[in-house]
Subunit: 206 residues, 3 copies
């Protein structure tokens, strides 16, 4: 069974989710039409771009597959034209964003490993693919990155990565490892959203 189509589908769902949230934040900051599209792009493909640059992987993924730029631009335009009430999309956004997180993490891991990265670097590349886009969006919009504060993004990505390495060591067949990794990342993220989980700060001595 080939999971590449599923991963690609989830990737695109994540790209759409990032385009929407980038567009919404950019609009809240009174960016113009083009500014919103640009923030959507940064949010959607910024993480993967940093990953590719750090791994010296050229051409960058969105330079060879035009679907990324097209999907982001169309999504941003649609949302700028038709959606004013951000509340309406909130729940869908959390869901699609979690799907994206699962795909971004897995893609980051697989790309890094295929470029000879060891486990710690692969984990970092999974995290980078998942969160650097959103971080850069927040930085451009002059906000402190939410993802570093109280959202279990990085943790979900790390747990997924550790599971993926474990499944590889157990020689679990590829497609099953892919699916399980994405499922675990998605589930942790959705549970965190549902139960409003935050990773605590650790302070052992007071």
């Amino acid at each position: 069974m080939d999971t590449s189509n599923i991963i690609y589908l989830f990737d695109m769902i994540g790209i759409i989710a990032c385009s929407v949230s980038g567009t919404l934040l950019a609009r809240a900051k009174n960016f113009d039409l083009m500014g919103c599209i640009l923030v959507a792009m940064v949010n959607a493909i910024g993480g993967g771009t940093l990953r590719d640059v750090l791994l010296n992987r050229h051409p960058i993924f969105w330079m060879v597959d035009m679907n990324f730029l097209v999907v982001i631009t169309v999504t941003s335009l649609i949302f700028q034209a038709f959606f004013n009430e951000t509340e309406r999309v909130g729940r869908w956004l959390k869901l699609t964003d979690a799907i994206g997180l699962s795909a971004f993490t897995l893609i980051g891991l697989k790309v890094a490993l295929s470029y000879g990265a060891n486990y710690p670097v692969a984990i970092l590349m999974g995290i980078a693919t998942s969160i650097v886009g959103g971080m850069t969006r927040d930085i451009i919009c002059n906000e402190i990155p939410l993802v570093l504060q109280r959202e279990i993004y990085i943790t979900a990505s790390i747990v997924g990565a550790l599971l993926y390495f474990l499944l590889q060591h157990l020689s679990v067949i590829g497609w099953l490892a892919d699916i399980m990794t994405m499922l675990v990342v998605f589930t942790i993220r959705m549970l965190a959203v549902y139960f409003n989980w935050h990773l605590p700060s650790i302070r052992l001595r007071h």
Copy 2:
């Protein structure tokens, strides 16, 4: 007719304009002598640097042509030493900045196409060369990037790119296409400044 000298001249005018506006903003933020030079550099060559990194074009352009670093440093020092009243330079800055935009866009396009980029990627590289420096300057100085808000920068760059592609398809001779592209970018930008044009947000449903 070889336009490379004209492009280089316009490029340098843009570099000087960016150095001035970078220095002015950095000074308004109380950055010290070196901090102002660094912000001037980011503003002037940040966009082209990102373009070269994304296209895997090494060495980066300012590593082989020392004129860039020298011109930026000298410009920043002169402005730090002699100009206190920013109002005086406002009009000249808008003009030289528009000249720079036209050169940056054209150079971004030409470099991208020479590295095998397709049209959408080339447009993005033209935009990146033109605006990423100013964006990064604003981010360092903790301001929301002006260029994404109400200024027709990106639009001028895109229209210029589309014209350039069209002229190529019409087999218009190279130097004429170069000049026309820069002229159109410059004109759109100056008209936007003159008439205080802004790209509207689009909202079809209320």
Copy 3:
């Protein structure tokens, strides 16, 4: 005499100092456990990463020597767990940070020169290695970069670089040039801290 061990030691001292200051600032901004580690990483290895990307030096240094990621993570965890009072570490932080600055500058210079960079580019790479991590930390935390304002960081780095070039021209033996360069950078920085030196803004006309 081989100075590579001393440079490596000073490098690690600087990495630890950056991890501590990154963690402290991230915590002040209420970042969670993982957010603090990530800011510590950006602070400690962000500058060297940009240097490697600009020089097309792959793999990036922390991808082949795992000590960097391990030391940063452990340092950040220890500080998150055991240190609440930032005042206590203030003096030690200034000292270790200055040691780091001397190592970062020298490493940046040596790497750049070994990749064929000329003097101005090598100076810039020394500065980039030294300050881009702290700048990016401040940008992520939505602060105006301290390093560009009133701290003699860049100046210490430049003076060290000029001395290093001079010693090379005088054919001073390698280990002595290394030690003297680091000593001068360290001394300038510590004097600046001790006497509260700032680089003035230059304004010749009022």
